[in-house]
Subunit: 195 residues, 4 copies
């Protein structure tokens, strides 16, 4: 008998749900009722939208991976917490980037946090594979992590480029989101074939 995954999923779902929702608290209702006063919120809204998509992507992949997870141990719990910690910093950098209209430093820091998330995700995967074995359905469903490596490369480029033109960085971050938008079909296929 091993520890079951139920509560790790429940706790993670809670944290994901809170992170994705508290970001909207940064959209403070302006005092006046005119269209003029809505305009300064536009960069914040764009910033929120991108982060919403990112958190949703992480939740989506987390969801897909844990469909084939059988059980967990202490190492899995802690690598999961590491991922959640990195994700928990997203609301802060989202707010900072939105408030400063995508200027260089906030955009760079936003990229750094995304990079930290992208680096902590494979740690979780690795600790799951270590527990389930290299021949497990889990290991077979994961693949080589090519997407992850490309993401890391694009984030790094985005961070560097931000000093010259932060909008290019922003476009790069959006690109990664698009790459990940499609959840890992491999897992869906494996689950279906494994029937």
């Amino acid at each position: 008998m091993f520890m079951n995954k139920g509560r790790l999923e429940a706790f993670s779902d809670g944290v994901f749900a809170i992170i994705i929702t508290i970001m909207v608290l940064e959209l403070h209702a302006p005092e006046g009722a005119s269209l003029e006063e809505l305009k300064p919120l536009l960069p914040k809204l764009i910033s929120y939208l991108l982060s919403f998509v990112y958190i949703a992507i992480y939740w989506n992949n987390h969801h897909h991976v844990f469909q084939v997870v059988k059980h967990v141990n202490g190492r899995v719990l802690w690598s999961n917490i590491l991922l959640l910690f990195c994700l928990s910093l997203v609301p802060f950098v989202t707010a900072w980037m939105g408030e400063n209209h995508f200027s260089s430093l906030p955009v760079a820091l936003y990229g750094i946090i995304l990079l930290m998330c992208a680096l902590s995700y494979p740690v979780l995967i690795w600790s799951l594979i270590r527990l389930h074995g290299k021949d497990s359905l889990l290991a077979a469903s994961i693949g080589k992590g090519t997407k992850g490596k490309i993401s890391v490369a694009i984030y790094s480029t985005g961070i560097l480029v931000s000093w010259f033109n932060s909008w290019i960085s922003f476009v790069l971050y959006c690109m990664v989101a698009i790459i990940w938008f499609i959840p890992d079909r491999r897992i869906e296929k494996r689950i279906r074939n494994n029937d």
Copy 2:
């Protein structure tokens, strides 16, 4: 074997619970302890009440539909996230409408967000039906979506009317809430008959 719906429900319940509860944070406790200082909160309270009912309606219908859902896929996850994103903007427009005592633009924007929610809900339904098939219990329980079409028409009217008299818009939004207040008896019946 398909992906089960458990975590989609748990994550959605989390987001619903947070959206419905953080709106109350806009009711800032006034500094003084007199009745005078409570009065300005009244429009905020009305605004909160309407939005609370709306989020509860969406949760209610989400709950009813997922009672007959068997499994989910990537498309369902993402159309669910689209709905949650639209709903996550409700607290912002609720606060803006309440703070500006139901003046034209905030009331119009409130209607636009409600409209977005009303348009994204059938996307979720459609992706669920596409997965379960047109002969499924799910498809049979849903009906033609007449209520949804009426809602879209009333919201659109409300948004246009807000430029002349925003209180008429407010009454129209309340009307839609009343229409939806009664949860979909069809699903309850189908579940019972399907015993």
Copy 3:
């Protein structure tokens, strides 16, 4: 087949958890680091403690009752939402009462909200019994609701008394909390005997 209670519990647990936790956000960290600056927080802390206990009591009783609930319907969902709405106003009155050092009006309003919660709870119970039948384990476990009636009487007294001396009201509210502190042993017993 009836609708199962799982998601109602999950959604309610989410709302309970958020209500009980966001109240702590009112304890703003003071700017300075001296003991002097902590003192003004004392009434807020007392206010928070009482409300924490109250929300916990409601969660506790909700938990006990739903242990013997078999299924739910639309009426149950909505009477549950009514209860959650009343409870969601507790953080606001808690903050107001704490900030104004338990002066008359905030203490009266606090009592009014508690009264609303106390009146909406039996509505939920009633709709559950209506669904399960008068001969159900649920109906047998509930009892006559004597505690509830006493609470309503004490709250009403507390609200009236607050105009003369709000501390008496506060003591009365604490008394009700103590009455309810012990969860309904009837349900625990019934569950055990029903083995």
Copy 4:
């Protein structure tokens, strides 16, 4: 038949998830976009990191213990709520400690709250053992609580030392976190052997 543990876990997971996530709200995005304006956030970030680890440790141990819990009663519910109450004060002292750059009084109060958590945890364990019996798998998995006693001693030292040098206290608090970082292998082992 006894009351099952499902909702206690769900409610606790909700509260844990909210506590761990709302602390990040204290990291307010600075107005400007320069590195200068990020610097004052560093103590807040360190403070957040320590508290995040602490809440994660408590969640982790809660998770491990409840793996071997069979059922709950009123006493368990209330001792669990006591623990959650103590933990709910962590965000407040985290913010205060971070804002005042780890000066004496905030660091002492931070230690006092940690001490309260450390003292309320064995109350929960004790009420669980009382329900399950001294010969239960639960009792066998818990051990003598040596770690807990050491923690209480170090916290107490940290609180006293803070008047002279609050950084020593901070190091002591970190030490306790490190001691607890490794989750209770005993329970993992017992669960595995009990197969």
